[in-house]
Amino acid sequence: MSNKKMMKKVFEEEFSSEKMKQQILLQYERKEKNKMSKIIKYAIVPVCLVLALFIRASLNEGNNILEDNVIGAMKVYAYTMSEDEKVEKTELKDNIKLGLASYNLAMSSVPGYPIVFELENVDYLKIEVNNGNILDWNGDTGKVTSLGTTYQLSNNGTLYFNVNINTNIKITGIRNKNEVFEKNITILSDDDFNYYVILK
């Protein structure tokens, strides 16, 4: 074989088209694999984050379900007269008629009939009065403010009611903007001007 042919062979060996093609294809496959592993590697963090958020959201949803299953309620107390004519704070129970302490006698120092509200699992109580109105009284300053016939009570507290015969107080418990319960306090009076309260 001549030098020329042999020299040609040197280049053919080194730059063999087929060999080069195989190398290119191999390299391409390798790059694609690396790309995939990089994607997987870098995707782990966002995937974990998404998973964490998802789990958190699921747990929150669970909490919401739990919260939704909690019964929203309230406790209402009124001041009644005991048998020995002592004024006492009594919890109102459904459909139990209680005689209210005489406003004039026992509670002349307060602006109206006091009713104590305790909130349980509600965001606030929406209080609407029919045939009467709501009063707020600052015990320290003695200042009385009329709150009108509708009021939102967000914390436990005492409201004073200017009552007439058949005053009705509608109380709606609100949680997550939903109405969770509705109660009515009706104040009645008899011919002797004794006042009674009933919760329904």
Partner: protein
């Protein structure tokens, strides 16, 4: 994974353009060691394009465009113009001076087992010598055209060609390069 359709298209484009791409890269590279890297980057780019654009229907001119970009990109970002020569300039002259003038260039002194040695020898020479050898022996270009292609005079082409052949013959007759 490359799908069969892309692979077929790649095969066709590769076979039709490879020799031109190789020639362009060799003629424009700064170092023989870079040739394979650059050629591979050209066809990797082509594969990427083919994978993305299934309706790709461009030909050799487009691939040569990629090649030009890759060569300039390669040397812009990855400067590898360092030429590793087998001899320092001083040694080079000494060696050339020691070669007798009566060397017969036509004498067959290259054997098959010497192919790797010759390749290693050539790629470590000045890149212009490597280019001349490639164009002369592999692409069968004549000396005049090589001069035009590489923008050097014909006599320079001849000088590089014959002197290097003399060197090569001398080395091969007198043992490996370490003994020179």
């Amino acid at each position: 994974m490359i799908d069969q359709e892309t692979l077929n298209k790649f095969d066709k484009l590769y076979n039709g353009s490879y020799s031109n791409v190789l020639k362009y890269v060799i003629c424009n590279c700064s170092n023989a060691e870079d040739i394979k890297d650059i050629v591979q980057s050209v066809y990797l780019e082509l594969l990427k394009i083919l994978q993305k654009d299934k309706s790709f229907n461009k030909g050799n001119a487009y691939i040569l465009g990629i090649t030009k970009n890759k060569v300039s990109e390669y040397y812009r970002f990855n400067y590898k113009a360092k030429i590793v020569s087998l001899f320092s300039k001083k040694d080079d002259f000494l060696l050339l001076d020691s070669i007798p003038d009566n060397v017969d260039l036509e004498e067959e002194f290259i054997k098959k087992e010497d192919l790797k040695f010759i390749w290693n020898y050539l790629k470590r020479k000045k890149v212009i010598i490597f280019k001349i050898f490639y164009l002369y022996y592999y692409t069968d270009m004549n000396i005049k055209d090589i001069g035009i292609e590489l923008n050097i005079s014909e006599s320079n082409v001849k000088h590089y060609l014959y002197r290097t052949l003399k060197e090569l013959k001398f080395i091969m007759k007198n043992g490996d390069e370490k003994n020179v």
